[in-house]
């Protein structure tokens, strides 16, 4: 199978601090890959480069063969909106919008009519079992519910790749597991690849394989045959 997203030789420094020193990674369609590493290892910078949020100093990131690093800011922004989904540690929901409107937001930004967007958003809230919070504001729901809403928002646009940065970091164990199960099972059903940044082994265990980042360098961890 060919990689849906592939990075090679990524270098990124913030001032005198090198965050990435030649990192590489390839993820295939439908694959769930955990990116693990200690704090400051460069794993979040790697995720941001892969998602086109941060432009690396050197190296390439190819999405379906096209070099993301050479795209204009507008094209990268469009790519993120239409092809990628995001789940962050603290949800990052828009506080002024209801949960339903938050989930519908990526579709509305992509030009989908409100009624259609909200119908699909409601369907996703149902799939992640929080349909009862549709009319609530993010500040009125629990952390676990908010993170399920974030999962629905990440998947509503049928993305090819979902980027999840410590998606359970702010949740207790049980809520964290539920969110992970919903995220990974929904992604598997839709065929989306998932890049899961975590420092927790129990979270990484939901992946198909693990890539470690140490001092800005990636390493594909496999058990020797």
């Amino acid at each position: 199978m060919s990689a849906v997203l592939e990075a090679e030789g990524l270098m990124k420094a913030f001032g005198p601090t090198a965050a990435l020193r030649g990192a590489a990674l390839a993820v295939e369609a439908g694959e769930i890959v955990a990116i693990v590493g200690a704090s400051g290892s460069g794993k979040s910078t790697l995720l941001h480069c892969l998602a086109g949020i941060v432009r690396p100093d050197a190296g390439t990131v190819r999405y379906r063969g096209t070099d993301v690093t050479r795209m204009s800011d507008g094209d990268r922004s469009r790519l993120r909106r239409t092809e990628f989904g995001f789940v962050f540690q603290f949800g990052h929901l828009v506080p002024e919008l209801t949960c339903l409107e938050n989930v519908a937001l990526p579709l509305r930004l992509a030009g989908v009519r409100r009624r259609d967007a909200e119908a699909r958003a409601r369907d996703w809230l149902d799939r992640v079992q929080v349909e009862q919070v549709a009319a609530s504001l993010p500040g009125e729901v629990s952390g676990g519910q908010a993170q399920r809403v974030a999962v629905a928002r990440a998947l509503v646009g049928d993305p090819s790749v979902v980027f999840a940065d410590e998606p359970t970091g702010a949740l207790d164990s049980l809520n964290g597991e539920r969110v992970l199960q919903l995220l990974t099972s929904a992604a598997r059903r839709s065929g989306a690849a998932v890049l899961l940044v975590t420092h927790e082994a129990r979270v990484a265990a939901y992946s198909d394989r693990e890539v470690t980042v140490r001092d800005g360098v990636t390493r594909d961890l496999r058990v020797p045959a």
Partner: protein
């Protein structure tokens, strides 16, 4: 070739089988067959209890006065005995339940030995730690999949195993950050 090994085929260690049976007898007397069925339901996992184990344990506990025969009912085959827990059995059971299990302290870890030997022989200990991490995580994936498809009992058993493997992984991570210090210590 490495194959993840999921070891919790039977939840109850064989040493605690008699006491487990006492616990199952505590609410009401039961036949050996009922005990086996109840045991398999709660603790059997992948490995149902053999009838021979049940009757051997009951025979030992009869001898020790922990259970008694509460009745004999004729059947098609041999007469069926109904077993009841005795006062001594109740005491034994509750003493066991109230006694903490000895916390396992892995002070003679093979993994620790391998790390030291890797340093001594000039082998890269990080390779060893990474390989072990991959093996641990492979096992954790097996348990996670099993847990996702399992009932509450399976989830609890898998969580227990997962948390122990996670503790090992944290040790691996911590050790990786201390390799240089270990090299200095070992070189003395």
């Amino acid at each position: 070739m490495f194959t993840p090994v999921t070891t919790h085929v039977c939840i109850v260690p064989i040493m605690s089988l008699p006491r487990t049976l006492l616990g199952l007898l505590d609410p009401q007397p039961a036949h050996g067959y009922d005990l086996k069925r109840s045991y398999d339901q709660h603790f059997g996992g992948d490995k149902p209890l053999a009838y021979g184990q049940v009757y051997a344990a009951l025979a030992r506990m009869l001898g020790n006065g922990l259970v008694e025969v509460a009745g004999v009912e004729p059947g098609d085959g041999p007469d069926r005995k109904r077993y009841a827990i005795t006062d001594a059995g109740v005491t034994e059971l509750h003493t066991w339940l109230g006694t903490p299990e000895p916390p396992a302290a892995y002070l003679q870890s093979t993994l620790y030995t391998k790390v030291v030997l890797a340093v001594l022989t000039g082998t890269d200990p990080h390779d060893l730690l990474d390989t072990q991490r991959a093996a641990h995580l492979a096992e954790m994936r097996v348990l996670t999949r099993r847990k996702q498809g399992g009932d509450l009992a399976t989830q609890l058993v898998c969580d227990h195993a997962l948390l122990h493997l996670e503790a090992d992984l944290r040790w691996l991570e911590l050790t990786a950050t201390r390799i240089e210090a270990l090299k200095t210590t070992v070189a003395r």
